[in-house]
Symmetry: C2
Subunit: 615 residues, 2 copies
């Protein structure tokens, strides 16, 4: 959390403008940088960016090209820092443009705060407003001025306040931010354009809001009985497995979970959305499990477990495999969630949902109470073999010179060093990453569930800004990094996806975000071609001169970046080795990689097969 | 309206796939071209683009870079053609990305049909879906799969149908399209991914839906009494004025209204949203009226009218001046709307709203019944002088070499020939255009009310596609054009706005849309600087090499376009004269025009003054 500005804790006045208050509050809650686009109804708020106390706490405005991109960037900032990612837009045109970005954050449990500048409270009453869509007869009946508020409340936002009374404004701000941390979902604050200059009491800044403080504690008796039962199931299991899912990361428990694994030597897996939560270099890492949509080797190991401890469980039909996970015959399951713990016996069907318990408290208690001597692990060494991505049986490509997805699966991981950050867009490449064995403490980020193409490019801007604001935020054990190494940021994005949000490259130049961009040029929407329309024109896109973009978008003299086009394995391999030796302090690279139109990873084929085999 | 495909009217089978039906229907209703982005849930629909009957009616897929841009393009297509503009997106990620574009169409009464591919009806029941944002406890309660439908219904869409029964699907399609034409507002059809291949009865294609046929006719007695009263008020007026507003255009009545003016020689004005509806070369054209936000000359003429016939009235606080139009002392007003006629005596306050009447019928009847000999026009020649844009008193700029907004107001109109199409983005330049005297039958399009920056660039793509599909669609009197002249398309867009949606330039190259793009490079959001934050960093944007964009975005060899940078009056004047001599058959131009950061038209200053003078 950011420090409280000196100006506000000393003998200064007890009342400050609400705009100044709001910026201090969001910085205090983690958003040192704020993403957005100016518009008529937020200008009076944005002026407070230049207040002394706001500048002193290091608050930065990151000016994005459009609101949807700004929402994606705020999402990326929050995913990386695990703090609030803040977005500011304007009434109507801005708030609605950003909506899909916030919906993605909602689906994927990302802590985005969306502040919207709206109509003044003292605006003359009037039957019509140009920023409010009106239906027929609107000339006679007037518009609904809280349209967006009504749309997002209880649908996309876990918390939404349309401020209308300056005396309760600071409390409502705290309420929304607390809810965001509590549920790890987006929240909205609608700020009337006359509020930023109104005075509010500064005392709301004295109490901090944090991830740790926002989750409801588990009552002592419930905690003890839950841990008792967990230990009892665990001690009687011969082949338990730990499954790491999305919410472990969102609630900041990756370090704890890795500690549990190290302590117990329990075999462990990750879900699609949980990728990179575990230290995949731990000798007991078994791979990514996704029901029918993963490799036979991983599946057979998972199905051999008689107990699954599913931490941070997130159920949707991508991550949770449409109709629920297949578990091994006779397996028991414990789901550890931020708002419940579920004990489930898949044989007899008995289930017990403990709603008052949360996995943060339970994991902590488990770590303190577990007695490893009582564990009775009996893994069959023939089954639970060490994880090798080569189990995929990638095709033999001897003599092939073209760059293929199979080649990328073999070679691309070599670019990664411990501590690096890899952001991927939705697309065919992403499927191959599932089975990488990532170096320790590499953070991998992708929309693995909402799958909105075009998200990753602006999201990686947000990640890069987060890495500037909070270096090493994702590192829970710094002793394991090479001394002096600066983690680098890598983006992998397809050409179709990149065209959606490409202008945000300019913002990377503007704020000197160091990034290695890999642009997979495969002539359009290959992931859609894999589903349907392999040769259909609607899956084609225009060819671009990608390597000209950084220059056109502001790096006129190549001061911050270099760009290259590669179409052979030799060229790409050399780039991967070169960048693999470098850290995040060596400027930006844009590498356009020529790929085949219908070449996609075997993992995508697995998913397609599983769809086709559905009833 | 497009012709019904031969294949479907001949002896072919009576049942066809719903996808084939839907494309035939939208083409029949005006959308020869369809804008959108493919996604998992609309691929099965898009495959029917290649059905013989769909190809035979000339249906084209216009592949946009992202969904918001596609929505803007569909809006532009509809504004230009005055027919249905159709947009196809996918469930969740696509439909939500497009929302702001559809909301703009809703606010500005544009006939956009948004078709969304959604979940299969036979999808396995499952408690979670990755494209549906879920709130806390979602693992236990499951998502709301009709989220977007619920958000837009009765808020943004005048009509929305989530298809769930193939037997009623074609009727529901007709209902939505009829409503779109009836209200001139967007409508939604949500199509389950298993529907496109299901068979439906072809007979729904035999009855056409059109603008003319969709509006409810005015009952005879109401029509007669309404016209009686209108004529009575008109015959007793000495200084009547006709005011042309947005809905005259949306309901296709521009030709009729211009005929009324020519017949009666009544002095006439336009609103902000009504700009270009009138033939501004008519000798009785008095200029654009906007209360305090227009020039003294226009205002004094408008306030001298004792009767205002306000056709196509559209009330919002931009177009209708916040708290209602100021009218001349003692003036009477008749509002002619698509769903009511309002007689209003501003002196005694009496008003009478005739809800059953519409202005289409009333205007037609008025034209047939009016007896010009009974008119008793007594305009004071000193007051009602011919309209000259120079009444603005633009500053004397002798010796100035920089390009200024005042210079543009003097020189830019020279690029326009009768029949040309001018699209402007929201921004400072747009304010100057208000007082141009446009050549006859120039169509001017801008979001004059919703004012979402970035709209115009993709919208002009839609306009250009519309001009390919329906050449001369905006011309009601072709005899007045220079023989053989091909109307050209001109876009004026600020640099901040262009950065929002710039990738759609590639789609212009792809479909060979001829366009003259004028990029006003004034270092950011000058329109916001005029409001607040003249020197604030949040109003700055990154400088770009604008003239490289057409090349980077696909015109590698300059085959379709040329680009130029101009920063003196001499250079720009020469470009304007050169392009003024050319029509729309001479390729595309991108002209970056260097302007001053704080230079904006006097008309914008007028609006700012009127805001500041508010209570």
């Amino acid at each position: 959390m950011g420090p409280l500005s000196q100006d506000l804790t000393s003998s200064k006045p007890r009342k400050i403008p609400f705009g100044e208050y709001l910026f201090n509050k969001v910085v205090q809650c983690g958003s040192k940088s704020i993403f957005g686009v100016p518009g008529d109804y937020n200008l009076s708020l944005l002026e407070h960016l230049y207040d002394e106390s706001v500048k002193n706490v290091g608050c930065r405005w990151i000016a994005c090209c459009n609101e949807l991109n700004a929402a994606y960037a705020a999402d990326g900032y929050s995913r990386y820092t695990n703090k609030l990612g803040t977005l500011i837009t304007t009434y109507g045109v801005g708030e609605l443009s950003a909506l899909n970005g916030v919906a993605g954050a909602s689906t994927e449990n990302v802590k985005v705060l969306h502040i919207v500048g709206v109509l003044k409270t003292n605006a003359p009453t009037c039957n019509y407003h140009h920023l409010v869509p009106q239906l027929h007869y609107a000339n006679l009946v007037g518009p609904n001025e809280k349209l967006c508020y009504e749309m997002v409340k209880d649908r996309i936002a876990c918390s939404a306040e349309y401020l209308d009374d300056i005396d309760t404004a600071t409390q409502k701000v705290s309420k929304v931010i607390e809810d965001i941390y509590k549920y790890s979902k987006p929240g909205y604050i609608f700020v009337p354009a006359d509020f930023p200059d109104k005075l509010v009491d500064v005392s709301g800044l004295y109490s901090k809001i944090s991830l740790e403080g926002s989750i409801e504690r588990t009552p002592h008796n419930i905690l003890q009985s839950t841990v008792d039962r967990t230990l009892s199931w665990l001690y009687s299991s011969k082949t338990p497995g730990i499954l790491a899912d999305a919410n472990v990361d969102r609630f900041g428990l990756s370090g704890q979970l890795n500690k549990l694994i190290k302590t117990t030597e329990i075999r462990n897996f990750t879900t699609i959305m949980g990728k990179s939560i575990l230290d995949e270099m731990n000798p007991w890492y078994m791979g990514l499990y996704a029901g029918k949509n993963c490799t036979d080797m991983v599946r057979s190991k998972f199905l051999s477990c008689d107990l699954i401890l599913h931490f941070g469980v997130e159920k949707n039909e991508v991550n949770y495999c449409a109709q629920g996970f297949p578990y091994g015959t006779g397996a028991k399951v414990i789901e550890f969630h931020q708002s419940y713990i579920r004990f489930w016996d898949t044989v007899c069907g008995d289930e017990d949902i403990i709603k008052g318990a949360n996995f943060s408290d339970v994991l902590e208690e488990l770590l303190s109470r577990i007695d490893t001597k009582k564990l009775d692990l009996k893994y069959d060494p023939a089954k639970f073999t060490a994880y090798k991505p080569t189990d995929l049986h990638l095709p033999n490509e001897e003599g092939v010179e073209e760059i293929t997805q199979a080649y990328l699966q073999r070679e691309f991981p070599k670019i990664l060093n411990s501590g690096d950050v890899l952001v991927c867009d939705t697309g065919s490449f992403q499927f191959g990453v599932r089975d990488y064995r990532l170096p320790s403490q590499v953070k991998y980020m992708a929309q693995c569930s909402y799958l909105s193409i075009g998200t990753a490019l602006p999201a990686s801007l947000g990640v890069g800004i987060g890495m500037q604001d909070y270096p090493f935020a994702h590192i829970y054990d710094q002793s394991k990094l090479t001394p002096g190494y600066v983690p680098k940021l890598i983006l992998g994005v397809g050409d179709g996806a990149a065209q959606m949000t490409v202008q945000e490259l300019t913002t990377m130049i503007r704020y000197q975000v160091s990034i290695n961009v890999f642009l997979w040029n495969n002539n359009g929407y290959t992931i859609e071609r894999a589903f349907l329309g392999a040769d259909s024109g609607y899956n084609d896109i225009m060819p671009w001169k990608w390597t000209k973009l950084f220059e056109a978008f502001g790096d006129f003299d190549g001061k911050y970046s270099s760009s290259a086009y590669v179409d052979t394995r030799e060229q790409l391999g050399s780039k991967i080795r070169e960048l693999g030796r470098k850290g995040g302090d060596s400027g930006s690279q844009f590498i356009e990689v020529k790929m085949g139109t219908m070449d996609y990873p075997v993992q995508l084929q697995l998913m397609l097969n599983s769809f086709k085999s559905k009833p």
